[in-house]
Each structure stands twice: as structure tokens, then as C-alpha cells.
Amino acid sequence: MSEVREIDYTGSERLTMNMGPQHPSAHGVFRAILTLEGEKIVAVDAVIGYLHRCHEKLAETLAYVQYPSIASKTDYVAAMASELAYVMAAEKIGQFEVPKRAQYLRVAVNELQRVASHLLWLGTWCLDMGGALGGGTSVFLYCIREREQILDLFESLVGARLLYGFHQVGGVRYDIPTGWVEQCRTTMDLIEQRLGEYESMLHDNAFFEMRTRGIGVISSQLAQDVGVCGPLLRASGVKYDLRRNAPYSSYEDFEFAVPVETEGDCHARYRVRMVEFRESIRIVRQVLDGLPEGPISSRPGVKSLAQVKVPKGEAYARVEGPRGEVGCYLVADGTNKPYRMKWRGASFSNLAVLPHIIPGVTVADVVAIMGSVDPVFGEVDR
Amino acid sequence: MNGEVLAFWVLAVGLVGSALNVVLSKNLFHSVLWLAAALVGTAGIFIALDAEFLGAVQVLLYAGGVITVVVFAIVVTERLVGERLSQTSRRILGGAVVAVGVLAMVLNVIRRSGIDMPRPEMTADITKWMGISLLTQFLLPFELLGVLLLAGLLAATYFARPEE
């Protein structure tokens, strides 16, 4: 396994090229200082922090009832997952109970969020590899078309399309409106059918295979060492899914498969995520079938900032987000605000693997690898 | 002065001018571009002489291919970014002697061959005729040239192979 190499700017035939922070495939604001020999990359220095918004300091000044809405801004592509991690950490310290219906709703929105997030991943990844003036755009636009349907579902549920504030300590904030279940089922059927269309466009496509097979291989040892998680970890041969290995929010009630691939390359990550799409749809259907009646929160509606007080203690709550383990480490001091909060962003750890796998590949591979890692810079920089 | 003569003089002046720029330009990249212009000018002269095939081959092989290779050579041998590539003239005196010698020789050849006779009308398809004569009358030299080029290609591959 290659280590982070020394950066040598002195070679006469070497070219130092900045990829980002404003670059079409930077997926936000990421800057990679590449040292090139011809087209081959010999060294990379990753620069992050362009989107840093002091989330952890901010959390120390916001009450438990306020922060969930802000938490959604860490990973703005999968806002539901980070909200859930935060409220779960608070519930864990305070031993707050969550009604079954709320747990099921949490599962439903998180799986819908996973589908939406993976759709965006597939689209942008193909955009990276296929260009804004090529086949990549076609896939991108198809994916966005389907993602809109899920955002419509969220909109009718909470009234917002990107950042939700759906979860609160002790349950969820909104119950499903009438007709939502039917709308959700139709959407799931549609997306499942469209997934087949994407696969017919990509699977066994020689160009797609050439770009992804054997590119950006992460060994299972490297993956664990760096803390790579989620689909990347499973694509590297580690069968680990928090929903299965450390169930939360009644995930043990549902049947779903955990896909594992052993190659660890971009194509393996693609295959893992394609299976996850279908498994998420399966879970959503099970939730809709078995949604229990009852309250959606064990606590009354929010009236004041001091309403939620968490006893002294600390907890680490983690959620299997679309990008992997979204963890919230919370230290409470008995007031209505956390003493210390730490985000363990899935994208941060996943991105940290880049300096280990990029040296030796070509410029064109960098965008394929970046896309397959699927970082969201709101979560990397927080 | 008819159109043909006019075309000749325009092309000739352009050709000589760009050829001079090839050697006089300080910037190596500009030299290469002037070389391209000179080669296209040569093609123009060929076309003015009704040798369209030669003109087109001139453009296809030289202006397109050779320029590409020259530019490629600059790129892989010199520093990519930073200082501009430059060339300077050394040994001007020796160069001048050689140039004058070559000029005298060329002039001598032109004078002896009596080239100022009227140009014959082109009647047949020159391209077809050229192809036929290359594969009949001049078959041996044609094949020999082919072998020579192949040898050159092999040698180039040998020298360009990555170091072990």
C-alpha cells in the first residue's frame, strides 16, 4: 500500500497543477495540489476547510432544540442522517424514549434520503467521467429527475426540500400527511424501474468498465486503518453496516441485505451502491407496510429553548448515512446546551483515503476516484 | 501580370519571409509556427503549379504531421511552464559561409537546367500518372525508401524505449 509521498516540486519535468478549490469535479470546494509527470500523478496534497462553518463551536452555543435544524447543514445532501445522529446522541445520554412510530418514520426518511443521495452520487459521478457535454450529463439529468420525486415527498412531509429539521429529541416533528404513503409507494416503484434503466446504460458498457475497473483500489486493511466507512468500506470487502451490526431506531425489524464486494475499486463501489438503492427501497416498503399507530414523539412540542435538558454524561451515537458512519459525539453538562460536540463526518474519513490511493494514477482517474468516494464538503469541513 | 504570377509572388514573399522568421525568431515556439507557415506556403506553390496532389500531401504530412512532432519534441524535452523557450544564434560566420555555398550551388543547378522554358499544359490526371509510375517505373527506389523509413522507425523505437 502506498504511503503519502513526499511532495517534490523541484523536478524539472514535473508540473504542479491545482485541481480546485473551484473546479468542475471538485464536488464543492476541494483543492488537490497535484504534482504531475506527464499525465501521471506523483504526489498529492489535499487542502480542505473552504466550507468550514464552525459547526462544533456553534453547537456549544445552541440548545438541543435548536441544533437539529443546523445539523442538517453538515451533510446537506443527506440532511436526515446527520440530524438523526445528533438527536440520537442526546437521547442516549438522557435515556429519552422514542415511540415506535417515530422510529419507523425515522427509518423511512433515512432510507429515502439514502436513495436521494445515491441518485445524486450516480449523477455527479457520471458527470465527472462523462463530461458536461457528453453521456455523463444524460445520466446526471435522469438521476436528478428521480431525486426530485423524493424531494417532493420530503416537501409534503416537512415543507422543505433540502434541509429538514425533521427530527427532534424524543421523536420526530411531523407526522405523515394523508396520501403520503401512496405517493411514496408510487415513487419507489418508479425509481426501482428507473434503476434498471441506469444499469442498462452503465452495466457492461465498455467505456464505463474501462474507467472504473481496477481504478482507485482501497484494500480492506487501508480502509479500516483510515476509517473509511459506508459503501466504500463494504466495497473493500468488509461486511459492516451499522444498521445490521449496531441496529438503531428499530432497524432490527426490517429485512435487508448488506452488499459486499471485495475488489475495492470504483466499479465495486458502484455495485455496492446499486444494491443499496434496491435495499433502501425494500426497507421503505416494509416501513410503509408496518407503520404502527401512536404518538410521533415522547416529548411535547417545542415551546422554549430550555425545554430539553440533557443530564450530565456523554455518548457517541452513529448512523449509517448514505456516505457511511455519521457519528455525533456529545458531552453534556446538564444544561440545555451541549458542553462539547464532535461530528465524525463520513466524508471526512472517506476523503482522508485519497492521499493514499491517488499517487500513481492519471488526472482522468482522479475525477473518477473522487466521484466514487462521493464526498460532501459540508460534512468534510463542517 | 496575370493571376498566376501574382499568386507566385505573394506566395514566394510569404514563404521567404516565414522561412527567415524561422531562423531569426528568438522564441522557439514562434519558430515552429513560422515553419508551419513556410511549409503551407510551399504547398501553395505546388498548388499554383497545378501539382495539387503534392500540395495536399505537403500539408497533410509536413504542416500537420511534422509540426506535431516538432511541437511534441519541444514539449517533452524542454521545461513546460515558466521561462519562454528561446534560441540564440551562434557561429554566425560559419553559418553564413555554408549558406552562401548552398545558395551558389542551388543557383548553379537552376541556371544549368534551363528552367525558364514555357510550362507544358497539364492534360492527364497527374495523380493517377504518379501512382502508376511509382509502382512500375520507380518501384525499386520506392520500395528501398520504404525499407529505409522502416529502419528509421525501428531505430527511433529503439532509442525511445523506456530505460530499464
Partner: protein
């Protein structure tokens, strides 16, 4: 100038050149709209719709916008080279139409060496392209120019070989002769050889035009926009127009070489229309390929060219020669 009886050949050439150029510019502008509409349909979008009915005035709006835009020249650019590059790029792209006969006798110059002229002139665009890449003094542009050199060397040869198959079948490099030779049977319908040559022509053509999946020069997800990254306004428009001219030129060449040029039902004056329709069909084929595939990498493009396309087209050429010899032998 009272009598119009005897127009000088020069005047005829000038007028026909002007007509072809004018028609071409219009065609080029509207081909962009065709591509945008076609791509939009492929992607379940509508495409340009706001300017004029169904967006029909969009190309004009684009043109006006590009004309009015500011010309930016990077401080560190090699100014002369930078400013000249779009023109040097544009001229060969337009010149390729000079040898194109749009109908019997209608064209600028129906040269004996029409096909060769096309290939020679289109190989010139690399000079303008490299000037743009170098003159910008931008690393992305430079890498793009280096890629261009690689790619165009590699794909010129298979392109020439594929185009030579109809030339050999027709026994002439003159485009009007090739068109006449297809009056019985279009070369694309020629058993086996015709179809294979057409496929090779399309693949090499896509590569020569730097379109997806072979658009590594532009590669905006890696190199932003490659050699044209620093261009704006009319200079950008020149490069863009040049590229489209090259694509359309290749489409016309494809239609002339494989699809029987102006042959079609109806009176002979419909010839140019048929020719244009066929060329647009080839163009749509290029577009279809473009909007369906992912881009591949430089080394993969090179290995496809040298290890697959070049040997195959050479074999095809050899097979064509054998077929011609056998047929002429049988005929005699």
C-alpha cells in the same frame, strides 16, 4: 458591367464561395440548435425554448451574446499566438468545404484530389489548437494541447484509411466521381466492407472531432475546458464554430463517401437538399454517440487507435483491394 454573358472563372469562384460560406454559416448556427434540441430530447428535457418560437432564434441570440462579450487576454499569455490561434483554427475548418460538391457542378472547387484535400486541410487544425493551448499559458490548456497532439496523430491514420475504402471502390479521389460511382449502390450497402468502413469512419471521426467519448481535449471535469479555457467572446465563438464546421464537414464527407451524396428521389435540383439531409443524419449519429457515452482516458484512446482501429482499417483496405482485383478480373 452591362453584359452578364461571360463571367470570369474567378468571379464564379468568388460567388459560389460566398454562397457556400453564407449557407454554411447559417447551417452551422442552426446545427448547434439541432444538437441542443436532440440532446435535450435524449435527456427528457425541452432544450432552448425561450428565444423565438420553440427557441428557433436561440443561435442568433447566442451569436449576439458572444459578439458583445468582453475579450479577456491573460496577462501571462503569449499575446500574438493567443489572439491568432482561433483564426488559424477556424480557417482550415471552413476550408474543408472548398472541395465539397453539393450537387453536380455546385461547389467551390471540385478538386481531383477532393478527399485528400479534405484530410490535409483538416489536419491543419492541430496547429491552431496547439497555438491556443500554448499561447494561453495555462496548465490545463497546455495539458489539453499535449493530449491533442497525441490524439490527432493517432486518429488521423485510421480516419484516412477508412476514407480510402470508398476512394478505392470508386477508383477516384474526386468527390463528385465518388458520388457518381454510388448511383447503383451506396457504399454503405456494399457487402461487409462498406459497413465496416462506415463504422471505422464514425469512430475515427468522433475522435478526430474531439467529441465524447473521445473529448479528452476538452475534458471539462479534468481540464476545465482544455485549450479554450482562457478564451471568451468572439474568439471563443471562432473556436466553437470551427469545431462545429469540422463536425459538419466530416458529416458531409461521410454522406458523400458512404451515403451516395446527392442521390435521392425527385428532380435533380433536390440534390443539395438530399445531401444536406444525409449529412445531418450523420451529424445526428455523431451527436447520439456523444450524449450516450462516458469519456475514456488518454492511454485507452491511444491503445484503441493503435492496437485496434489502425490494424483493422489496414486489413479492411487490403480486403477492399483484393475484392476490387477479383471483381475486375471476373469482369474481364
Amino acid at each position: 458591367m452591362t453584359g452578364t454573358s461571360a463571367m470570369s472563372p474567378l468571379l464564379v469562384a468568388l460567388i459560389s464561395g460566398g454562397v457556400v460560406l453564407g449557407a454554411l454559416t447559417g447551417l452551422l448556427a442552426y446545427v448547434t440548435l439541432l444538437e441542443r434540441k436532440f440532446a435535450a430530447r435524449m435527456q427528457s428535457r425541452v432544450g432552448p425554448y425561450r428565444v423565438g418560437p420553440h427557441g428557433l432564434l436561440q443561435p442568433i441570440a447566442d451569436g449576439v451574446k458572444l459578439l458583445l462579450k468582453e475579450h479577456l487576454v491573460p496577462d501571462a499569455a503569449d499575446k500574438g499566438v493567443f489572439n491568432l490561434a482561433p483564426v488559424i483554427f477556424f480557417i482550415p475548418c471552413m476550408l474543408i468545404f472548398a472541395s465539397m460538391p453539393f450537387a453536380p457542378g455546385l461547389g467551390v472547387a471540385d478538386l481531383n484530389i477532393g478527399v485528400l484535400f479534405f484530410l490535409a486541410v483538416s489536419s491543419m487544425e492541430i496547429v491552431g489548437l496547439f497555438m491556443a493551448g500554448w499561447g494561453s499559458n495555462n496548465k490545463y490548456a497546455l495539458i489539453s494541447a499535449m493530449r491533442a497532439v497525441n490524439q490527432i496523430i493517432s486518429y488521423d491514420l485510421p480516419f484516412v484509411m477508412a476514407a480510402l475504402v470508398p476512394v478505392m471502390l470508386a477508383g477516384s479521389m474526386k468527390l463528385s466521381d465518388i458520388a457518381t460511382a454510388q448511383q447503383g449502390l451506396w457504399f454503405i450497402a456494399y457487402p461487409v466492407i462498406g459497413q465496416l468502413a462506415f463504422i471505422a469512419f464514425i469512430v475515427a471521426g468522433v475522435a478526430a472531432e474531439n467529441r465524447t467519448p473521445f473529448d479528452i481535449l476538452e475534458a471539462e471535469s479534468e481540464l476545465i475546458a482544455g485549450f479554450r479555457v482562457e478564451y471568451s467572446g468572439m474568439k471563443f465563438a471562432f473556436i466553437q464554430l470551427g469545431e462545429y464546421a469540422h463536425v459538419i464537414g466530416t458529416s458531409f464527407l461521410g454522406a458523400a463517401l458512404f451515403l451516395g451524396a446527392w442521390a435521392g428521389p425527385g428532380p435533380s435540383w433536390l440534390g443539395p437538399l438530399w445531401f444536406t439531409i444525409k449529412a445531418l443524419l450523420v451529424f445526428v449519429l455523431f451527436t447520439w454517440v456523444r450524449w450516450s457515452f462516458l469519456r475514456i482516458k488518454v492511454d485507452q484512446i491511444l491503445s484503441i487507435s493503435w492496437k485496434l482501429l489502425l490494424p483493422l482499417t489496414l486489413l479492411l483496405l487490403l480486403a477492399t483491394a483484393v475484392v476490387i482485383v477479383i471483381r475486375s478480373g471476373a469482369g474481364v
